[in-house]
């Protein structure tokens, strides 16, 4: 299953992208896609706090924050997510932030071609899966060699599965804060 989160301040763009991702007939097909869309980057960040996704696609120019800032924040929440910016506009400075800070995998220009964008998504998802698998295998090796404890390896596995799950947020009165 591929979990995709898409952010664009224009609902029509979101609808078009959702249709495109879910349409299995137009090749290349995204394997088993599940699409969440947000017109607000702030709401998208709130969602990302406790919903792991595989790929985040974001517009660049948005009222609340630009795509580079949004994806930089998203990366902090979910380091293993793949990130794509799709935009009709970006200056060099913005693209640099998107690459250096947000660590995007692809930059796609608007108007996009469905076929090209889907191919990019499939490729990025594959790349991301490889990275995650690589990390898991590396941890497996480290655990076997005793470099990291079984507990630590398990924590990392859990963190991969559900980002944020291994971190406990404490309230001022010593209580444990749980989000919905």
């Amino acid at each position: 299953m591929a979990k995709l989160l898409i952010v664009d301040d224009e609902p029509n763009v979101l609808n078009a992208l959702r249709r495109m991702c879910l349409n299995r007939d137009a090749l290349p097909a995204i394997p088993d896609p599940e699409v969440m869309t947000f017109t607000s980057p702030v709401q998208a960040l709130a969602y990302l706090k406790d919903h792991p996704v595989d790929l985040i696609i974001s517009d660049f120019r948005m009222p609340e924050m630009d795509g580079a800032v949004f994806l930089t924040e998203a990366r902090k929440l979910q380091a293993n997510s793949a990130r794509i910016i799709i935009s009709a506009y970006a200056d060099i400075e913005g693209i640099m932030r998107a690459i250096n800070d947000a660590g995007i995998f692809q930059f796609v220009s608007k108007p996009w071609s469905d076929q090209e964008l889907k191919a990019a998504i499939v490729q990025v998802l594959g790349h991301r899966a490889l990275l995650v698998e690589n990390q898991q295998l590396a941890n497996e090796v480290r655990r076997q060699r005793g470099i990291i404890s079984e507990q630590q390896a398990e924590l990392e596995r859990l963190e991969l599965e559900s980002p944020g799950i291994t971190r406990v947020r404490w309230g001022e009165d010593g209580s444990v804060l749980l989000e919905d």
Binding site: N12, V13, A16, R19, N23, A26, R61, W112
Partner: protein
């Protein structure tokens, strides 16, 4: 005093006097002498010498622009070299008369005459007799006139001096009048030269203003373009995507319908009521037509979107006309060749391409942008020529500039359109074939290179575009314009 004692104009036959005076007056009016003031004065003087029955005479005039210097302006019977020589105010007879403004009569030796006295009494011994009058115009002394009689002749009298004063005034007017004529002629020449200069400067200003207006237009279009491009690309993006999705949905639906139709064909008679209703609907709604037309509909819509994308791309190019790209010393012939390679196949089908390269130095430019300019000009030329057309591409150097000319034997551009071809969105091509941005983008690019595009065209004969570029890129085009203006005004 008897008539015999006086000289002709000073009291002789009245008709003769008048004729003499009239002749004197006419000298002042004679424009034919304009080019040679010396000759005019000489003629006037000769006339006066005759009129006063004198042997010789001379005129001294205050040198223009000075107060104290006199110049012998004319003379009869004077030794060579005297005319044109200078005198000081207050020195000598002329100097004295000019300084005092009073006429004098000299009989005998001037020194003996006791200047500045009026010498009225004739001396006993025969001596030469002379009169000298100041020339006054509007209370301004402009010089002096003197006439002399030989020693053997009758001497002038005080009465002669008084009568002569009136003539001197007339002469002063004649000289001043003549001087004014000369001045006027000079002014006319000056004015017409000035006028020519003004016309030239004016033409250059109009040219510069035209360029400014054009670049102003381009600049504002560029600004709008950058913003609009973004706004348009968003909807174009999702409409394109939706059309793609719609097409794929329709394929599924048609697939499904196809299956139903197959099932319908295979249905055994008699058919059910529902199936009969479906058949009626299918026939009434011309289902086969719909199925075919939907394909066209989607294809045409997609073509429209491709066009919109093209326009937006042109607009984006428009806001980037060479300002931020790398400048290099490029071989323009190589740029032209690579551009020709792109259009050659299309051009060849229609026109003969003739190449006439001069010797070009390397030119400081942004080659990719200039290539865009050449591409536009060549494509336009190709579109303008008919079946048996010719497109000539020539280059050359002119001072610190190079020129590249694209000439076609095509349909030409009408005069009313010629002034608008560089305007953004102006096109005479059929809808959909041209955005009207090609030439204005080219114009903007050439302007950024500090050059200019000139166009000459004759309907039915052909069009000639000449791009001029400075070999070294030295700032804005405006600098060149102001330098030209300075040159022509100097």
């Amino acid at each position: 005093m008897s008539a015999t004692e006086t000289v002709a104009p000073l009291g002789g036959d009245k008709t003769a006097d008048l004729a003499w005076i009239r002749a004197l007056y006419e000298f002042g009016q004679t424009a034919a002498y304009g080019a040679d003031p010396l000759r005019v004065r000489q003629d006037i003087l000769t006339h006066i010498v005759q009129g006063f029955d004198a042997e010789s005479g001379s005129i001294a005039l205050i040198v223009h622009g000075t107060e104290d210097e006199l110049e012998i302006a004319a003379g009869t019977d004077l030794p060579q070299g005297i005319v044109g020589s200078r005198l000081q105010r207050g020195v000598g007879v002329f100097g004295h008369v000019v300084a005092t403004g009073q006429p004098i009569l000299i009989n005998g030796n001037a020194a003996e005459a006791g200047l500045p006295l009026r010498v009225s009494e004739p001396r006993n011994r025969p001596a030469h007799s002379a009169m000298c009058w100041p020339l006054v115009v509007q209370e301004q002394i402009i010089g002096a006139l003197a006439v002399n009689r030989a020693t053997s002749r009758q001497r002038y009298t005080v009465e002669d001096l008084d009568r002569g004063q009136a003539l001197a005034s007339l002469l002063a007017l004649v000289i001043a009048n003549h001087q004014m004529n000369v001045d006027r002629d000079n002014r006319i020449v000056e004015l017409s030269t000035l006028n020519e200069t003004l016309q030239r400067v004016n033409a250059m200003l109009e040219d510069a203003q035209g360029q400014l207006i054009q670049s102003e237009k381009l600049a504002s279009i560029g600004q709008i373009a950058a913003g609009v491009a973004h706004e348009i690309n968003n909807p174009v993006g999702f409409v394109t995507s939706n059309l793609g999705t719609l097409e794929s949905y329709l394929q599924r639906i048609f697939g499904l319908l196809g299956a139903y139709i197959e099932a319908d064909r295979a249905a055994p008679a008699p058919v059910t009521e529902a199936l009969a209703r479906a058949r009626v609907l299918r026939d009434n709604h011309d289902f086969d037509f719909l199925r075919g037309d939907i394909v066209d509909l989607l294809r045409e819509s997609r073509e429209g979107l491709v066009r919109v994308k093209g326009i937006v791309q042109d607009l984006k190019d428009f806001s980037r006309t060479g300002g931020e790209e790398a400048w290099e010393m490029a071989d323009l012939h190589a740029v032209l060749e690579s551009t020709l390679n792109i259009v050659r196949s299309e051009l060849k089908r229609k026109a003969r391409i003739e190449i006439n390269y001069g010797n070009l130095p390397r030119v400081e430019c942004v080659p990719s942008r200039l290539s865009q300019v050449f591409l536009n000009l060549l494509v336009n030329a190709g579109q303008a020529v008919g079946a048996e057309g010719k497109v000539t591409l020539s280059t050359g150097v002119e001072g610190s500039q190079v020129w590249i000319r694209v000439e076609d034997t095509g349909s030409g551009i009408s005069e009313e359109n010629l002034g608008r071809i560089f305007d953004p969105f102006f096109t005479t091509k059929p809808v959909g074939e041209g955005t009207g941005l090609g030439l204005s983008v080219s114009y903007a690019i050439v302007l950024k290179h500090g050059g200019q595009i000139d166009v000459e065209s004759e309907v039915g004969v052909g069009t000639k575009f000449t791009v001029r570029l400075p070999i070294r890129h030295a700032g804005a085009a405006a600098a060149q314009v102001s330098a030209d203006l300075y040159k022509s005004a100097a």
